[in-house]
Symmetry: C2
Subunit: 197 residues, 2 copies
DNA sequence: TGACAAAGTGACCGATCGTGCTCTTTCTAG
DNA sequence: CTAGAAAGAGCACGATCGGTCACTTTGTCA
């Protein structure tokens, strides 16, 4: 049973790579199978259907997302330093983990936000979990803690800068996108810490 | 020759609608033809190929973008009020002009940013033009004018809030997204005006 | 080592894709 | 009104899509 799991993982990784490039709908099972080095029918020993593979791709991407971005910050105590690590890892995720395609979370969000179904539900759940984590993090940014509304406003802007960074870097070809995003985020932290209690 | 132009316009509008929903690649010529009420082969009297139609779609979307967002602000004198109108129209564009699909400019950007070719080039050119307009606008926000770097930082954040707004509203189901974006933008204008000369 | 399940292959299915062809209808300009 | 052009219909094509099935190979465990 070990061999199968390894192959399945390779399939999911390759499908995620292609989905980040062409979108989930744009991924053909033949292309994935060829890239992995098995036949198209061999693929069906690991997934019931293409939809089933899509679910595995979303799950896998969000797991990697957490590993790459949250894990390095998890050990630090809550506060500004930890938020800074998270933001920098998030930029790193977009730039280095998916250099050819751009962030698959963004791609999946844009593709699925208007397509109700289990796939969107799964992504929504994972993103809500991440949002909860970040809101908790922002609330602990300062003593006394930020209000819920303040934390929401801060996370809204943090996420916005991430999205803006990808658009600037990938669509507009802006080499300074990383710096622009970091500067905007640092300023956000500055003024958020300064809010009167 | 008049009839043809009208049909072509209907085709492009319908293709844009579907592209915003499923992505350009996800649009099939049969579906577009059916929705418009002509045969698939009749479609080819208006476009040489699917790629040709894609170009028309991008061009049309960016034209509507300018009409909806820039035109209502064009008459106003440069300054904060005009920027506020632009931002509000931009949100309106995302929310009301494409209620079922979300902003097609975002969708096209995410889809095309990793696909070199004339389609990406066209979108890039139009977005660069828009960016130029906005930078000029930000520079005139205050006397003495903002530096180029300050204007770039401001536009980066403005665009980010637009992207964050769509993600919050459509993917996260946040009914307050409009308010969050507007509040963030107003605060951006506040502190941008306040920068020491 | 032998048996059985898991993993993988190749041929094939019906549907749909973009696109070319010929033919008919419809519009429009003289 | 009429002739010619534009607009559109209908059909068929090769390719590719997701998916099935019978079969062979490979891995695992008693």
């Amino acid at each position: 049973m070990r061999k199968g799991e390894a192959t399945r993982a390779r399939i999911v990784a390759e499908a995620a790579r292609q989905a980040a490039l062409r979108g989930l709908t744009g991924v053909s099972l033949s292309d994935v199978a060829d890239a992995v080095g098995i036949s198209k029918s061999g693929l069906f020993k690991h997934f019931e259907s293409k939809d089933d593979m899509h679910l595995a791709v979303v799950e896998s991407v969000m797991e990697r997302f957490s590993d790459v971005i949250w894990k390095p910050a998890e050990g630090l105590p809550p506060g500004r330093a930890r938020l800074e690590v998270v933001f920098e890892r998030w930029l790193h995720w977009c730039e280095e983990e998916w250099p050819d395609s751009g962030c698959p979370v963004t791609a999946l969000s844009v593709e699925l936000d208007d397509q109700p179904g289990p796939l969107r539900d799964l992504l929504h759940k994972r993103l809500q979990g991440w949002r909860k984590t970040m809101l908790r993090e922002f609330r602990a940014l300062r003593e006394p803690p930020l209000s819920e509304a303040e934390a929401q406003a801060a996370y809204f802007q943090m996420k916005s800068f991430i999205l803006g960074h990808s658009d600037s870097r990938r669509m507009m070809g802006d080499a300074d996108a990383h710096r622009s995003a970091t500067a905007a985020f640092e300023a956000l932290l500055d003024r958020t810490c300064r809010i009167a209690a």
